[in-house]
């Protein structure tokens, strides 16, 4: 177990290094002068010169990369070109709403999608199964912001049950926090739910046809016991895999959802940074989100051993 964990942790280091190299070199892949790109269209030659000096463009690429990586490891992501504040500081200010949104979305998605998938597999071929599968296909196909507007239109504008936009920190109480965040979380979670429900149903169908399920049935284990103890545990590996892979959709969707619901989080920071071409901020956010994605999938890999002790490679 420990050897496996160590190997998995070590294996993520090259991946993160490649991501870092990519994020760093983004500026240099683009045609043209990186200093001019950062400075934007309205920059004076002085601005370009100043940025060129601050980037250290006169030094070799590898040395600049190592320098940059070293300061990133120390938590220094550079300064925003627009506000001149440290990027790490800007990220800290904006991280709470995004974390809250993702945590709520993850909780909602898992607690709805897995039972839905289990029930669909149990009632395989019936209208319940078909309903779940149809909902999943629709959930797949509707972009996050479309669902977001639809939900906001129905529940906030027409029915007036929930606030249209905004964010309230959990420190102001759980209810206001949830009232603001429930619509964004449902909108963001629909794609994720569809993914998880589909894979849950598929693997449960596989597992339910196994011999040990029949044995469990024969020795009198109840329906619920079979579904949630025997079968679900054995179906867990593909499910946690898709939870990990689908996390990318969650991150991408969060950027858009925050725009729709005016949530002042990292997604809004990203969108603002793009519109201002604030490149250090974009680099910082992309690097952070990618590392989160890599770490989530590392956790998934480690969970495998918990669900399936046979995995030892």
């Amino acid at each position: 177990m420990l050897a496996y964990a160590t190997r998995r942790v070590l294996a993520t280091i090259p991946v993160i290094l490649i991501v870092a190299l990519f994020v760093f070199s983004l500026l240099y892949i683009a045609p043209g002068d990186p200093a001019a790109i950062i400075a934007g269209d309205q920059a004076t030659p002085d601005d370009v010169e100043r940025i060129r000096a601050s980037l250290g463009l006169d030094r070799p690429f590898v040395i600049r990369f190592v320098d940059w990586l070293w300061s990133v490891l120390q938590g220094d992501l550079g300064n925003s070109i627009f506000t001149n504040l440290p990027v790490s500081h800007m990220i800290q200010q904006r991280i709470e709403p995004t974390l809250s949104l993702m945590a709520l979305t993850l909780t909602l998605s898992l607690s709805f999608a897995i039972p839905m998938g289990v029930i669909a597999a149990w009632k395989h071929g019936t209208w319940i199964d078909r309903l779940v599968m149809m909902t999943a296909v629709f959930g797949f196909s509707t972009p996050v912001f479309v669902i977001g507007y639809l939900l906001a239109f129905v529940f906030a504008l027409k029915l007036d049950w929930l606030p249209v936009q905004g964010f309230t920190s959990i420190s102001h109480g759980l209810l206001p926090f949830l009232r603001n965040l429930i619509l964004p979380a449902v909108a963001l979670g629909l794609v994720y739910m569809a993914l998880i429900a589909r894979i849950t149903r598929a693997t449960m169908l596989d597992v339910l046809s196994q011999d040990y399920v029949r044995t469990a049935k024969a020795k009198g284990v109840g329906q619920r016991g079979i579904l949630f103890l025997h079968a679900l545990k054995n179906a867990a590996v593909p499910i946690v895999t898709i939870v990990g892979i689908g996390f990318a959709a969650l991150i991408g969707g969060a950027v858009v959802t925050e725009s729709v619901f005016a949530i002042p989080g990292l997604g809004r920071l990203t969108v603002d940074a793009i519109l201002r071409r604030d490149y250090p901020v974009i680099q910082g956010v992309v690097l952070l989100f990618s590392c989160v994605y890599v770490v989530v999938n590392l956790i998934v890999d480690l969970l495998y051993t918990l669900f399936d002790p046979r995995i030892r490679y």
Binding site: S141, G252, V286
Partner: protein
């Protein structure tokens, strides 16, 4: 008497058997296909309709989608303005119809580019052991960046144009194809007929062309369909947050981005492109689901 011995004289021509399965009539064939693969038919038909709408947009009662008419701003949907007008007086119906051109162009182009580039790299990785590790680590790195975020970062570097949107989304999507093709190649290499071909000295490009490529076609088609769907969502997303198609070109994402400021009072500006986008993506996804079920019965049982 042994069962195999036949007396010389008894050897007569076998009676012509009646056709047990008479050739199905054309209509029966079509209905049979519809019955067996309803998702392919529904998805395919919807995609076909969307393609027709995109191609025939100028003929479908549309006006110039960029024509401004300040005196007729934000009209509700009516007989003259089927989908209403936006805050600059432009006809939303015309804009939505012309918007389908951008969406489909981006979807199909990204699917094609990602399929070709991904297949080429996947074949290289699968066949050249030395290159494999390098290419796949690079793909792992690319795939660790959430696709939308990668496309956003790339778009932030370049000028907004449909071409750049296509390139950015293709870069975000092709590693998935590369990994898929490499996987197929690695499993095919173990197959006796490929080993036999290698052992008998068949040249590599012949093996790739005759033995490997035909076998990657089915999973590749399914993957390309799903990439087409996610590329259309990605284009709309990029345009929606202002990092995609230039605002002057009517695309569904752009129409929604412009309608956003007014959506609480004039929700129709946002909802018409949203409905079109969702239906198109749904159609492509249905087609992909259907193709997967038809081409890979093993997966069909599972998903």
């Amino acid at each position: 008497m042994s069962a195999t011995s036949i007396e010389p004289g008894s050897f007569t021509e076998a009676p012509r058997l009646p056709d047990v399965l008479p050739p199905a009539k054309e209509r029966g064939k079509i209905m049979g296909f519809v019955h067996r693969h309803p998702t392919i038919v529904i998805g395919g038909a919807l995609v076909g309709i969307m393609v027709l709408i995109a191609l025939l947009a100028p003929l479908l009662g549309t006006k110039d989608p960029t024509a401004l008419a300040p005196s007729r701003r934000t009209r509700e949907p009516s007989a003259t303005y089927w989908f209403g007008t936006d805050m600059l007086g432009r006809d939303v119906y015309s804009r939505v119809l012309y918007g389908s051109q951008v969406s489909l162009l981006v979807g199909f182009s990204v699917a094609a580019i990602a399929a070709v580039v991904g297949t080429a790299l996947g074949l290289v990785a699968g066949f050249m052991r030395g290159v494999d590790a390098v290419v796949m680590r690079f793909m792992d790195g690319l795939m660790s960046i959430p696709p939308i975020l990668l496309a956003i970062a790339l778009m932030a570097l370049t000028r907004a144009s449909v071409k750049n949107v296509i390139i950015a989304i293709s870069i975000a999507e092709f590693p998935r194809v590369c990994r898929l093709v490499r996987g197929v190649v690695l499993s095919l290499r173990e197959q006796p007929y490929v080993e036999a071909a290698i052992a008998s000295g068949t040249r590599t490009h012949v093996i790739i062309w005759k033995h490997i490529l035909p076998n990657t076609l089915a999973p590749l088609m399914v993957q390309a369909t799903f990439i087409c769907a996610s590329a259309m969502i990605a284009e709309a997303t990029l345009s929606f947050i202002g990092a995609g198609t230039p605002p002057i070109i009517p695309s569904w994402g752009n129409i929604m981005a412009e309608g956003r400021a007014l959506w609480q009072v004039k929700p129709y500006i946002v909802f018409f492109p949203a409905i079109f986008l969702s239906i198109t993506v749904l159609a492509v996804n249905l087609l992909g689901d259907g193709l997967r079920d038809a081409l890979d019965p093993r997966l069909a049982k599972r998903l």
